[in-house]
């Protein structure tokens, strides 16, 4: 799951996957603006066949948070 997450983030932000770490966040990834955030959410939903709620979307501000939210949803069988 982590590999896929890194792959998606790299594709959305236009960087190589090794640039994505647990600490990648909206604060240190320059291109991660509000528009890229929507693209990221759409790409993650497509990748993992999930649908995020608005409160989750606004909480997904760094790799660790995204990873936690996806894991929770996958475990809940969503």
């Amino acid at each position: 799951m982590i590999d896929s997450l890194h792959k998606v983030m790299a594709a959305v932000f236009g960087v190589t996957a090794d640039r994505i770490t647990d600490g990648t966040s909206r604060l240190n990834m320059k291109v991660w603006d509000s528009m890229r955030h929507i693209t990221l959410i759409l790409a993650l939903e497509d990748e993992f066949a999930l649908r995020f709620e608005p409160h989750e979307i606004s909480a997904m501000t760094d790799t660790a948070a995204i990873s936690r939210i996806i894991k929770n949803k996958l475990n809940a069988g969503d």
């Binding site: 594709a11 929507i38 790409a43 990748e47």
Partner: protein, 574 residues
């Protein structure tokens, strides 16, 4: 394909610096930024080096002004955002208030279209209410506003403008899949990536035509592509083409799509590793066949490598490899084609055979969209006579003898009103014998035909084998009484190699001299495909005035022009 894979692949397909990109602007009254990459990817895999710019949120008229220099502009007007909360406010509005909303929309449309009147291609989505009222039995105020604004679009229609049917795109992808309410309320981004994918696919044929990158030839294998099985092994009765079986129906459907493309002017070719007689027998006598021999323009049946056959066909028909689509059921042949002729779009018959007709419907969208000209309809016949000419050439050693035997004639027309569509099409499709590669729409051509300062010359050519139709175009702008500038000089690839360009140029120069023009300026702009004409003006005795790797500019004093028309071409005024 996953959305993230599209993003990653699109980044790799970035047009290289030596290629002029196709500059596209997407302008909307909502946020559509995710469309950028999906549209770029859809066009780039089809051979258009697209760079897409998106406008700002809800500044359509201003964006149209700012981006009017783009090669094409796509406008998406979301009715729900014409005024704040329109879908639910509409029912509460008085008729006067509704009229005010319509007036606001009308003003915005008028401003946008005025800004884009010189943009070569403008594509606009019709207003839709499907996401809100698709389930209503009777139309309400919201539908009334939609109908009124669509009426405005219809009445404002200009020659450079195409309307697409938003409802059709929404229905194709499914309304529920297309609208994402979360992002509409959060960020005025109402559409899902499913909608963007459907829309990009819907617009691709239009943009292929507008950018001059549409495919011209569909080359298909036989065994496993036109019928189930291998005719050389299974025999005539063993191959699957029966309408009584699912597999037979699938292959017949694929054949019907191919046949329809052929009838619409696409060149259909057969490339198969087979005994020619076996394939002939299937075509002539199998009652399950929908494709007929007369649908096939060119064929290579034998045992040579398919990549070589495809190259031969490209050379014989004078078309680029990148205008060819190749279909085969063998992954080996597809991989070989990708390796040896990467410019050819090679597609494999899907393993799940039920997906094959859908793939062919998709393939059909790669070929020219829109109205067919008389030349298109007659194209298969034209290419067939071209083959006869080439066979005749093979039997004659001396080229001049051969060309003399053709009894070539051209008829030149000045300001050929009525042929706008064909002339515009020539500018859009001609890549090889094209000195400046300027693309014009039918509307722009109509305007030029009316301008006194612009001379539009066109020729039709014929020889003893048949008529080529209108195949040459030259646009000359008279700038200052005695000085003329050649804006466009092109010839269809159907008539290259006969030196008709010299007859044409002689006629034009003679006509310009009659109208007191003394000096002609001309230019060559290099593209990936027009290297063969890089020395055209040098050969005619024009003097170079500036030259870079990509361009050359010329001038000639017409007193020094020497006619070049070979004796074997007869030239007349149409």
């Amino acid at each position: 394909m996953k959305y993230s894979d599209i993003l990653a692949a699109n980044a790799l397909l970035q047009p290289p610096p030596n290629v002029t990109p196709y500059d596209l602007a997407v302008i909307a009254n909502v946020v559509v930024t995710p469309f950028k990459e999906i549209l770029e990817y859809t066009l780039r895999v089809a051979g258009i080096p697209a760079i897409v710019r998106c406008g700002n949120y809800d500044t359509v008229a201003q964006d149209c002004m700012a981006m009017r220099d783009a090669a094409a502009v796509i406008i998406i007007w979301e009715l729900a955002n014409i005024t704040e909360g329109l879908p639910y406010q509409a029912a509460l509005m008085s008729q006067r208030q509704q009229a005010a909303v319509i007036a606001k929309g009308r003003r915005e449309i008028a401003c946008a279209l005025a800004a884009l009147r010189r943009t070569p291609t403008v594509i606009i989505g019709r207003f839709s209410t499907l996401a809100y009222t698709g389930n209503n039995l009777t139309p309400g105020a919201y539908d009334h506003i939609k109908d009124s604004l669509n009426g405005v679009l219809d009445r404002c229609r200009r020659p450079n403008m195409t309307l697409f049917n938003t409802d059709q795109v929404l229905s194709f992808a499914g309304v529920a899949n297309c609208i994402d309410w979360r992002f509409f309320y959060e960020a005025k981004t109402p559409y899902s990536q499913a909608y963007y994918r459907a829309l990009a696919g819907h617009l691709r044929p239009l943009l292929l035509s507008a950018s001059g990158r549409q495919k011209k030839a569909l080359i298909v294998d036989c065994d496993g592509t036109l019928w189930k099985g291998i005719v050389g092994e299974d025999g005539m009765t063993g191959i699957g083409l029966s309408p009584q079986t699912a597999e037979g129906t699938i292959f017949r459907e694929a054949q019907a799509i191919i046949r329809a493309l052929g009838q619409a002017g696409v060149i259909i070719g057969l490339v198969s590793k087979n005994n020619s007689a076996d394939v002939d027998e299937v075509f002539r006598t199998h009652d399950g066949m929908i494709l007929r021999e007369r649908d096939i323009t060119i064929r290579r049946i034998g045992w040579q490598a398919k990549a070589d056959s495809v190259r031969e066909i490209a050379a014989e028909l004078n078309i680029g490899l990148d205008s060819m689509v190749f279909i085969d059921d063998s992954s080996f042949e597809i991989a070989a084609m990708n390796k040896i002729n990467p410019a050819v779009l090679a597609l494999q018959v899907p393993e799940r055979l039920a997906d094959y007709p859908a793939m062919m419907r998709e393939v059909a969208t790669l070929f020219p969209a829109g109205a067919r000209t008389a030349e298109d309809k007659a194209k298969t016949a034209l290419y067939r006579t071209e083959k006869r000419r080439q066979e005749s050439r093979a039997s004659r050693v001396d080229l001049t003898d051969y060309l003399t035997s053709l009894k070539l004639k051209i008829a030149v027309a000045r300001q050929a009103t009525g042929a706008e569509e064909r002339l515009a099409q020539l500018t859009q499709k001609t890549n090889q014998f094209n000195l400046t590669t300027r693309r014009y729409t039918t509307g722009q051509m109509r305007v030029m035909l009316r301008q006194r300062s612009t001379r539009v010359y066109a020729f039709s050519a014929r020889d003893r084998f048949g008529d080529y139709g209108i195949t040459g175009l030259c646009i000359v702008r008279v700038v200052r009484g005695t000085v003329a500038v050649v804006d466009t000089f092109l010839m269809s690839c159907r008539v290259i190699g006969r030196q008709l360009e010299y007859a044409f140029m002689d006629w034009i120069i003679n006509d310009l001299q009659k109208h007191r023009v003394r000096t002609v300026r001309a230019a060559y702009f290099r593209t990936e495909k027009n290297i063969q004409v890089s020395a055209f003006y040098d050969g005619l005795g024009f003097t170079p005035t500036a030259r870079t790797a990509a361009t050359a500019e010329y001038v000639i004093d017409l007193r020094h022009y020497v006619p070049h028309c070979p004796a074997y071409i007869r030239c007349a005024h149409d």
